[in-house]
């Protein structure tokens, strides 16, 4: 004992040992992560009972690390049952029977490089393509979201560290057939299929993965007409079809009307019904020919247009047989036949305040009371807009009404009261409006305004920002009356029977009914004198435009300078589009009463 007590170092060693022992026993668990959230691969591994086979696929295709790393992805995760079913349907017995590339392709088809929750699903494609390069299509069936019309989502919007997981009950497989093959293999489309082959469009619509195609041809949309639709018009086979349409008897010739007929059914770019509804016009392969689209009571209608005030019934797309996914696009079927409409150019007298969209937005206020064109920061109708929209006085732009006896009356009793200015930061500088349908051809554009001394000079642009943009040569100076600056004096206006032609030579015209004009209904009330107040309603020739496609186009009015500084008021009444070679440029004239036209004195 004494031996020990003298050897103090032993105490020291013991103490140190005790300290070590005690510390060693206390294992401190420090949390080394900032969150328990796992990434996509981690989520699958936490739920192995459901996804073990898909995990296997991920590892075999060497993409597990990819989905475990940071990024923004959406994975459609098939359950084990789904994978088993897929293996069987491919005639194989296990995942090992697939090559690495096959597995990688199938994984890529299940991943979108974006986080897409179900709130962003529409009745159409997911807006970002899969890593495979093709789009997925979503809809709802049996009250459940579906992908590609086959796989139902059984659990949605699972948030992980690098994206969203949706669990699906079937594997997604890229569509095997191209548009050409789908049409060819469907016996209901036999006439249409043969016509495709005869016109050469079969090759346009054919695609095999791996083929290199121009970007704009990678996805296409075709609207087919089934045999029964054609038979309803007495076309029982291809021979009859060719006989009816092929006027050059050479369907491969792009001038042949059968070629044009088929071209008119094909659109570059994959457009699902949802895209068709929203685009309003489809640009077809037939040069400069468009299909107009319309959405009404959940029907999608093609070429149903009001033309010259007459409703032309269109063709309805068959929803249950549309949105068919192909490897290179989408197929739709129409319930009725439709073709290029041959139309002659006609003058269009566009009352700018009575465009159909605006009238429906105005409701009971139409021709009744003043209404701001802006509500809650946005235009009240989608047929017009201002630039910029976020200026402080934007709400003063309004739809206005007038009375028949006013010093400044308006055609149809209404007008657009705009405040445009290029210098004031509180006012928009431009106003843009959609025209009615214009048949392709050349037109003179007459801007009909009511004189306002404070208004800006307007530059008119046709289809701004489009390939066929045209800036019109003449400025519309809204402070100008018909006399004086127009080059024609008041005396001439009042007394010279030839004054209309003199005005025309200067690029001006009267558009409001004037004393002496003839009205079939004998209206004489409110006609304008030839001088004085009668010079305030001015039609100004802005220039000639070349309309390349029969469609609704856009006109922009841009304020470029302003003679005075006060209200910047621009009072627009009408725009006339009159075919350029039409000798009649100044009649008919218009009146406060809607629909009353006035002609040359008889």
């Amino acid at each position: 004992m004494k031996r020990f007590s003298n050897q103090y170092w032993i105490y020291g060693v013991l103490t140190i040992l005790v300290v070590f022992f005690m510390n060693a026993c206390q294992k401190v668990n420090y949390r080394e992560t900032t969150t328990d959230e796992v990434n996509i691969t981690g989520y699958l591994e936490n739920n192995k009972d459901q996804f073990s086979l898909f995990i296997d696929i991920l590892y075999r295709s060497k993409s597990a690390g990819f989905l475990g790393a940071y990024g923004t992805y959406t994975l459609f995760a098939p359950t084990n049952d789904a994978v088993n079913e897929w293996i069987k349907s491919n005639g194989k017995s296990s995942i090992t029977d697939f090559s690495e590339n096959e597995l990688l392709d199938i994984v890529k088809y299940h991943v979108v490089r974006d986080t897409v929750g179900t709130t962003r699903f529409t009745d159409g494609k997911i807006k970002s393509p899969t890593l495979f390069g093709e789009y997925l299509y979503t809809d709802v069936a049996n009250q459940t979201f579906r992908v590609n019309r086959t796989a139902s989502i059984t659990k949605s919007n699972i948030q992980t560290g690098n994206g969203v997981v949706h669990v699906i009950n079937k594997m997604l497989t890229p569509p095997a057939l191209s548009l050409a093959e789908i049409i060819d293999s469907d016996s209901r489309y036999s006439i249409f299929a043969q016509a495709l082959k005869e016109t050469g469009f079969y090759d346009t619509l054919y695609f095999k993965r791996g083929n290199v195609v121009p970007v704009e041809k990678r996805f296409q949309t075709v609207i087919v007409e089934s045999d029964s639709v054609l038979k309803a018009q007495g076309i029982n086979d291809y021979t009859a079809f060719k006989q009816k349409y092929s006027h050059l008897n050479n369907p491969k010739n792009p001038k042949d009307s059968l070629w044009l007929y088929m071209a008119y059914h094909i659109v570059n770019d994959g457009k699902f019904l949802e895209d068709i509804i929203q685009s309003m016009t489809l640009y077809t392969l037939a040069p400069k020919e468009i299909i107009s689209t319309k959405f009404e009571n959940s029907k999608v209608l093609l070429n149903e247009d009001v033309f010259n005030g007459v409703l032309e019934p269109g063709a309805e797309l068959n929803r249950s047989r549309s949105d068919v996914l192909a490897s290179n696009g989408v197929l739709h079927e129409s319930k009725q036949s439709f073709r290029i409409k041959v139309r002659a150019q006609v003058p269009v007298y566009f009352d700018i305040a009575s465009s159909p969209e605006l009238v429906s937005a105005l409701g009971g206020s139409y021709r009744n009371k003043r209404v701001s064109l802006i509500a809650n920061g946005l235009p009240i109708a989608n047929s017009f807009t201002f630039y910029p929209l976020n200026v402080s006085t934007i709400g003063t732009n309004s739809y206005g009404v007038s009375l028949i006896g006013d010093k400044r009356p308006y055609a149809n009793g209404d007008f657009l009261d705009l405040t445009l200015s290029t210098t004031s930061p509180n006012r928009p500088h431009s106003f843009e409006i959609k025209t009615p349908f214009l048949v392709k051809g050349r037109y003179k554009v007459w801007v009909c305004y009511v004189q306002n001394g404070n208004g800006a000079d307007l530059q008119v642009t046709f289809n701004p920002g489009k390939p066929d943009e045209q800036i019109l040569p003449n400025l519309v100076m809204v402070n100008q009356t018909l006399n004086g600056g127009s080059g024609v004096s008041t005396t001439v206006l009042r007394d010279d029977p030839n004054s209309d032609n003199l005005l025309l030579a200067q690029g001006y015209k009267r558009y409001y009914a004037t004393v002496g004009d003839y009205n079939p209904n004998g209206i004489t009330q409110g006609l304008r004198p030839k001088d004085g107040d009668g010079t305030l309603n001015v039609g100004r020739l802005a220039g000639t435009i070349n309309v390349e496609t029969t469609d609704r186009h856009t006109l922009r009015f841009y304020a470029i300078s302003e003679p005075r500084w006060q209200s910047n008021g621009v009072w627009l009444d009408m725009i006339h589009f009159i075919p350029a070679d039409d000798p009649e440029q100044y009649y008919p004239r218009f009146h406060h009463y809607p629909g009353e036209l006035f002609y040359r004195p008889q």
Partner: protein, 488 residues
Amino acid sequence: MRKIYIVGLLTLLGFVVTSCNKWLDLQPQDGITKAEFWKTKEDVRAALMGIYSSLNAGPVETRVFLWGELRADMVNVSSYAADDYRLVKNYNVLSTNDIANWGALYNVINNCNLLIDFAPEAKAVDPTFTEATYNSYVGEALTIRSLLYFYLIRTFKEIPLKLKGSYRDTDVQNIGAVSADKVLSQLEQDLKQAQTLVPDYHVTLGNNFSINPSNTGRITKPAVHMLLAEVYMWKEQYALAEVELNKVLSTQRYQLIGRVASNSFDISSSETIFEISHKDSRANPLTPLVYVGRIPYIALTEVINMDFFPPNMEVDVDKSDSRGEGVLYLSSGMISKYGTENPSYYNFPIFRISDALLLKAEAAAEQGRGAEALQLIAELRESRGAIEASNRQLNESDLDDIIQFIFEERAREFAFEGKRWFDVLRLAKKDNYSNIGVLIDVVTKIVDASVQQSALNKVRDVNSHYLPIHEEELFKDNTLVQNPFYLK
């Protein structure tokens, strides 16, 4: 020397003792504890006023408006609305959507529960607390609680039913949700009890008949009858509902005011049975949402002007319905029912006599008395100056059409009052969802074209007609079970 010590020690002692005094007192300085409250009838009255105050604070009315209008066909979202609400309109709701936030209502429910729990304590110690006053306070709290639970079950179907107040942390417990039927039978029982407690008038009117805000801004017996009638209508027990409605109508206490004007809802009128009062109190929370400034919600004029207030085309072209465009809403979509200035102190109507008339008409039609139903609608329409274009020429035996007509008239009469969706849902779910077509019509009218087909498919699942339980609530109470529609 010793004296000095003693004096010194005593002084010290004095300091120590007094300073400790405050130190040991742990009463909060800026509030009242439960031990000090619930002593007098004034305390209970203050608690009751607290209930009404939490009712008109804003969140409750905003919820009622959103739940009752957003999914229906009379209100649209403008560009200023939050994405969550746009998704609600497009029938694309997740359990994280703010629309499912029910906190505001449970807040008021808790205030009601506390009063019901503790008023007896005050009654026991305050001899001046009369039976009648006590009954009235408890009855009012019961009715308001029932009113809010009724909104909740119509919105969520299965909800937590809490009938005890929470005033300390241990009172907050996981109670899970109970079925709508259970809640409805609880409401029926509570309201029957409230009927025996609440007086006809809080302020007796003198010979000069006039309207007193205390009788419209506080629950009176007719309001209890109205709520019970609505509960019976929801349960499709039309005969029972009619009994309650007759009790209201037979009083002759309420009269239609005739044509309405844009400021008719500013103050209580001879029509008002119960309203959330804002007069001389807080501003109406809806004015900045629907009229003044950058408003997120606007009237869906393209549907309203076509389906509910079509203009006369051939006869009497100049006539217009007094509830239509230009009066209670403008063509730009601004809704003027809740005032046109900011702040506005318009009241938020809950029950009006026109509601009793139309419910009675519906109950009559449901029981095969078409002629009586038509006569009641005609009475209201004549008073409001309804026009021929919105009239329906119906035979008294076309009961289904008469009921459709009643719901159209309800849309006109209660536009933007947070009733339309509940009306449409009541019509749709009747007779085991035999009228689900009306919901499909609504979806066709309001949902964006790009998701319309999805929405049309979803609406066929009856569970989708109720909102999900919010994710946060599921997290707080793990015994809550999510609506199965939102689990996929």
